[in-house]
């Protein structure tokens, strides 16, 4: 089937041909480390409500891979990753720690912050402000139905400050416009250097002037709020004063486009269109990274305790217009609530579908050449959810996968039995793979997860 491409449905900014612009000072420095390659990027992809893990009645997990090292068998729910089996590390036994046990919001707060109650910055923000800071966009946070249903702050996984989450951009059209609308000025003469827009320079300088004045006036009052704001202004200033793109040769950056067929204000939070919205957000993220716009991204699929009606997803085994099955409802597939096994069946399909979305992301990354391999070879992709088993809500043996070669820093194609290490240790290892010297993270950690880094 041909993909429908209405002129305005395709998110496109005509950047003109030949936009392979040398902007080495933005991106180039990252890949030219003398001490060896570092992972070029990290994507954190979260999905809601856990998996069919070890259940309270003793049934074995349908998620976890079994075996050791490179000799292992995928868990039933991991099957969509079979084509990428050798590109992933299947993590067993990671724990988020004892506190907040039994809760979706507690898990969501802890998922990327590794702190109880989300009282720390999340790993994506830390990486964005350090190893990702040179990219035009330090951080890209996209959601699919993440802000739906009047979400409160605990639904969001990315924390810019202790206790302070922010909402992702749920609309791929707006996300695309933000990322590509300004980042790709049309060059007057292909090959000529792109000059900053003097008007924009005047504006950002004027705003920074006001900000500095206000900070001086207030001193310590509301300092952290203004610090964050100032950082944001500096990032935008950098984009304005260093226009253009990257050293990438990815041809899709010349005329970036993402198919957003069917996505309108009216369908944005309609479950029937959920698969389209999520796919578009994955496409936007991959394109942004292919074009070197960012090194750190979060894709938040839905939200914890999700009301998402999976039974409305067209062309999936879950589709059943005569019956409403919600994500969180299905996650409580325990026998006491689900004598007919209907929720169990739905939850298996649900988890499998989410894993297939990861597989889509990985296939997109793997389809784009980069350096001596593909983007996937140079990426780190974290995939996880806020509880382990959806029915028991526990935070042990978390269903996490790390995919991508991290520019040769990660030994993939393995199951890693971590024996109860904190999940913060995984993030430390990821940070180190990106060239960060992180030694600890979150409430409790024991250093980079052993056996992960090469």
């Amino acid at each position: 089937m041909t993909t429908l491409r209405s002129r305005r449905s395709i998110l496109r900014l005509l950047g003109g041909a030949g936009l392979a612009l040398p902007l080495a000072h933005l991106i180039g420095s990252q890949s030219s480390r003398a001490d060896g390659a570092v992972a070029k990027r990290a994507i954190f992809f979260t999905f809601p409500d856990g998996v069919v893990g070890p259940s309270q009645n003793g049934d074995p997990s349908k998620w976890h891979a079994t075996g050791n090292g490179s000799s292992f068998t995928l868990g039933q729910l991991q099957q969509p990753l079979a084509p990428f089996k050798d590109r992933c590390v299947f993590l067993n036994g990671l724990t988020m720690g004892p506190a907040d046990s039994g809760s979706h919001p507690g898990g969501a707060k802890k998922l990327l912050t590794a702190t109880d109650g989300g009282m720390g910055r999340s790993i994506d923000r830390v990486l964005a402000d350090t190893v990702g800071a040179d990219a035009p966009f330090k951080h890209v946070y996209l959601g699919a139905h993440a802000t739906a249903n009047d979400a409160s702050g605990d639904k969001y996984v990315s924390y810019v400050a202790p206790g302070q989450s922010v909402a992702p951009q749920d609309d791929p059209r707006a996300a695309f416009a933000t990322l590509f609308g300004d980042a790709l000025p049309t060059p007057r003469d292909p090959g000529a250097p792109i000059e900053p827009d003097p008007r924009k320079v005047s504006v950002i300088d004027g705003v920074l002037g006001d900000m500095n004045e206000l900070r001086a006036q207030l001193g310590e009052v509301e300092k952290s709020k203004l610090d964050l704001h100032l950082e944001a202004l500096r990032e935008v200033e950098k984009r304005i004063k260093n226009p253009g793109l990257t050293g990438t040769n990815d041809p899709s950056c010349a005329e970036p486009s993402v198919d957003a067929t069917g996505i309108t204000d009216g369908t944005l939070h309609d479950p029937t269109y959920f698969p389209e919205v999520l796919r578009a957000q994955i496409d936007v993220m991959v394109l942004a990274m292919a074009c070197g716009l960012t090194r750190v991204g979060v894709i938040q699929g839905s939200q914890h305790t999700s009301e998402l009606l999976m039974s409305r997803f067209p062309n999936t085994p879950m589709f059943d217009p005569s019956f409403d099955m919600r994500s969180h409802q299905a996650s409580h597939y325990g026998a006491a609530h689900d004598p007919s096994k209907r929720e169990y069946a739905a939850f298996v399909q649900h988890t499998t579908w989410w894993v297939s979305q990861l597989a889509y992301l990985l296939s997109e990354l793997a389809s784009r050449p980069e350096g001596d391999g593909t983007m996937l070879d140079h990426s780190l992709v974290f995939f996880g959810t806020e509880v382990c088993d959806g029915n028991t809500h526990l935070h042990d043996d978390m269903p996490f996968v790390l995919a991508g070669g991290g520019s040769g820093r990660i030994a993939t194609g393995r199951v890693l039995n971590t024996g109860g290490r904190r999940h913060a240790d995984l993030y430390i290892a990821m940070a180190q793979a990106m060239g960060h010297s992180m030694g600890s993270f979150g409430d409790a950690s024991g250093g980079a997860l052993p056996g992960l880094l090469l």
Binding site: T178, V236, E307, D338
Partner: protein, 681 residues
């Protein structure tokens, strides 16, 4: 954590503590003997934090409209130009007279993606045109749009459900590959299905027009983060700016400046020859004062004039000035910083007070008159503040803000988007959802401004709903509601639908709604192995299906405070229609509010119907204090702390003295010491 009221500490002295919490209570079950003396602390004034309050999207939008007198949304925002339907959003728009316009409700856009030249002709054949397999037989011809890579036809259909297929070259039948809805065609394949119900649909907006109240400039701003247990979008603590915000602010500023400078002399109120003309300076002074809600300093005026002069021409000079101002932290944050005093407090400046008043009561920037009052010392005394508060409350803009408050307090805006099963509730469309949300806004507005009282929140017997919503309610003459629905907000479709699942009611959600929103109780998250919604069993009622919550001690721990309240709503289905039966059994809408007041001994109040539940709430001191607390949260932008208990108790008493007149409560909020004072350390 156990059940606790957010006022637990704040109101401990009033014996409001919930003494029977659910769970192993780390504090909620603390006996009052360990608490301060009942009078202790009540006399003390409390002050909130010094804070910068980021404009919410609502506030930003209203502010921009007021600053630039952008009246009608369509004035200078032209519709997207087009040359054919294919250059519009094809699925929902057509090109009409050179502009993209939204299609009427009954227009269906048929699209068949195909490579050029794949077919010679394609028609739509279906139950609407007697399945004509070609144009001669009545099939609807499609035309090929090379820019879309698809065959397209737009056709109006009558209300109803229609099945169809595409027929290529008169013989190749295929289902619509883009339409997930289908049914077996009887030949082993699928027909596609399209449904229209347009008899009562509103006409589509004309091209480019945003309906009143719809965001234009802030549409893509990040959604505000609401802290847990805080219903409002304006919590100062959560109003943080990321680079995504900055991008969006600058884009919006660019659009606004372009629009504003399209009538330069109107904006400047003079005809300068260049940016160095003194009239530009006076524009910076005059307009800067409106944008920053305070006079600019001399240095600021110099800076902005210099900025204008540095641009290549006058229009871009003024444009850049506007763009900087609209992206400046002085505009984006409303300042509640104040001037530090010797006693450890900080006194807000008159302009900060004016701003707090204006956003609290108008949701927008102060008008010239209010700034003038601030400038001339009119806000230096409580009486001066009261006079302005009363002036603002007498203006229609105050109604809108009370509506914003109400819809957020109740969490009722989710009625606009909450999923409902279209097969069970085919009529619950966008129009009905909007009407339901609108009714709730209007209802609270009327109570506040048209002589109503607090009691009517939960006991009102009439509705202003019209048309289909009135029909759904079974409203009679003068909007009089049937007896079972005379429970004020409790029986609003917005509330009933927001707190229900897509296909069934939810005693848990509705019970939590009462507990959290109306009684300000906070609950811990359910424990591990908490259940999900029991499946619909046609032979048992919802009530019966939730029995496990009361039979299982680990559930009953908390759910005894929740479900027996939620059962009171059982007369109303998942979209708020009255029902007589559930699961083939007569409805039992009786219930119990256990520990209504958070007092010791516990006050348990049984009820037999939703109106009786409303009466329980009206009689409850805790419900009144909670309402006061919610208003205070909305006005102050912060979540109350223990020190605020005296302030809140006095405000609740004021509401009683005023016989439930909420306007007096709003005025009283401006008369608390904390309104114009902050703690500076």
């Amino acid at each position: 954590m156990p059940l606790r009221t957010s006022l637990q500490r704040a109101t401990a002295a009033l014996s409001l503590l919930l003494s029977v919490g659910c769970g192993d209570s780390e504090g909620a079950s603390g006996s009052s003997s360990s608490l301060p003396d009942p009078d202790d602390g009540l006399a003390a004034e409390s002050y909130g934090p010094r804070q910068l309050r980021l404009l919410t999207r609502r506030e930003y939008e209203a502010t921009v409209r007021d600053l630039f007198a952008f009246g009608s949304a369509s004035a200078a925002e032209p519709a997207s130009p087009c040359s054919s339907d294919a250059s519009c959003e094809i699925a929902t728009e057509s090109c009409v007279a050179g502009s993209c316009a939204t299609d009427a409700c009954n227009v269906v856009t048929f699209l068949l993606p195909a490579a050029p030249g794949s077919y010679g002709s394609v028609v739509v054949a279906g139950s609407f045109n007697a399945w004509g397999a070609n144009e001669a037989a009545g099939g609807w011809a499609m035309s090929y749009e090379p820019t879309l890579g698809a065959w397209v036809s737009k056709r109006a259909v009558a209300d109803g459900s229609w099945s169809y297929k595409f027929v290529a070259d008169g013989s190749t039948w295929m289902a619509d590959p883009q339409n997930p809805n289908g049914e077996p065609d009887g030949f082993g394949g699928q027909n596609s299905l399209v449904t229209r119900s347009c008899a009562n649909a509103p006409p589509p907006p004309s091209g480019g027009d945003a309906p009143a109240g719809e965001p234009i400039y802030s549409k893509d701003f990040p959604v505000e983060t609401r802290p847990e247990h805080h219903p409002f979008d304006n919590a100062a603590k959560a109003g943080l700016v990321t680079s995504t915000h900055v991008d969006q602010y600058m884009r919006a500023a660019e659009r606004i400046a372009a629009r504003a400078t399209s009538d330069l002399s109107g904006l400047l109120e003079c005809e300068p020859s260049s940016a160095s003309d003194p009239c530009v300076r006076s524009f910076v002074e005059r307009f800067g004062r409106r944008v920053f809600r305070r006079p600019l300093t001399l240095a600021e005026v110099d800076k902005y004039v210099a900025l204008a002069v540095a641009q290549p021409d006058l229009a871009s000079g003024v444009g850049v000035v506007l763009e900087v101002m609209l992206s400046s932290p002085y505009f984006l944050y409303r300042s509640e910083i104040g001037e530090a005093q010797a006693d450890g407090t900080a006194r807000l400046s008159p302009y900060e007070i004016a701003t707090a008043l204006s956003y609290a009561f108008w949701g927008t920037t102060p008008d010239e008159a209010l700034l003038d009052v601030a400038q001339t010392g009119g806000l230096d005394t409580p009486a001066g503040i009261e006079a302005e508060a009363r002036r603002l409350l007498a203006d229609a803009r105050a109604r809108r803000v009370v509506g914003d408050f109400a819809i957020q307090w109740l969490g009722a805006e989710r009625v606009l988007t909450v999923d409902k099963n279209a097969q069970l509730f085919p009529d619950f469309d966008a129009e009905l959802r909007r009407a339901a949300a609108e009714e709730t806004r209007r209802y609270v507005e009327r109570i506040v401004f048209d002589g109503g009282s607090f009691d009517e929140l939960y006991l009102g017997d009439s509705t202003s709903a019209e048309g289909r919503l009135a029909e759904l309610y079974g409203a009679g003459e003068g909007g009089l509601l049937p007896e079972e629905r005379r429970a004020g907000l409790l029986a609003h479709a917005s509330v009933l639908a927001s707190y229900a699942h897509s296909d069934q009611t939810s005693p848990v959600r509705r019970g939590l709604f009462v507990r959290e929103r109306l009684l300000c109780n906070e609950f811990a998250v359910p424990p591990a192995n908490a259940g999900a919604v029991p499946e619909i069993d046609p032979t048992s009622s919802t009530r019966e299906r939730f029995e496990q919550h009361s039979s299982d001690p680990s559930c009953n721990h908390c759910h005894r405070f929740i479900d027996p309240v939620g059962f009171g709503f059982e007369r109303f289905d998942a979209i708020g229609r009255v029902r007589e039966q559930d699961g083939g059994k007569p409805i039992d809408a009786s219930g119990l509010v256990e520990d209504l007041e958070g007092s010791s001994p516990s006050v348990d109040r049984p009820f037999a119907s939703l109106p009786e539940l409303g009466a329980v709430l009206v009689s409850s001191a805790q419900a009144k204090r909670c309402f006061v607390t919610q208003l205070h949260r909305h006005a102050s932008g912060y979540h109350e702390e223990p020190v605020d208990r005296g302030t809140l108790a006095r405000l609740a008493a004021r509401l009683d003295e005023a016989d439930g007149d909420v306007r007096e409560l709003l005025v009283a909020i401006t008369q608390t010491q904390g309104f114009a004072t902050r703690r500076s350390r």
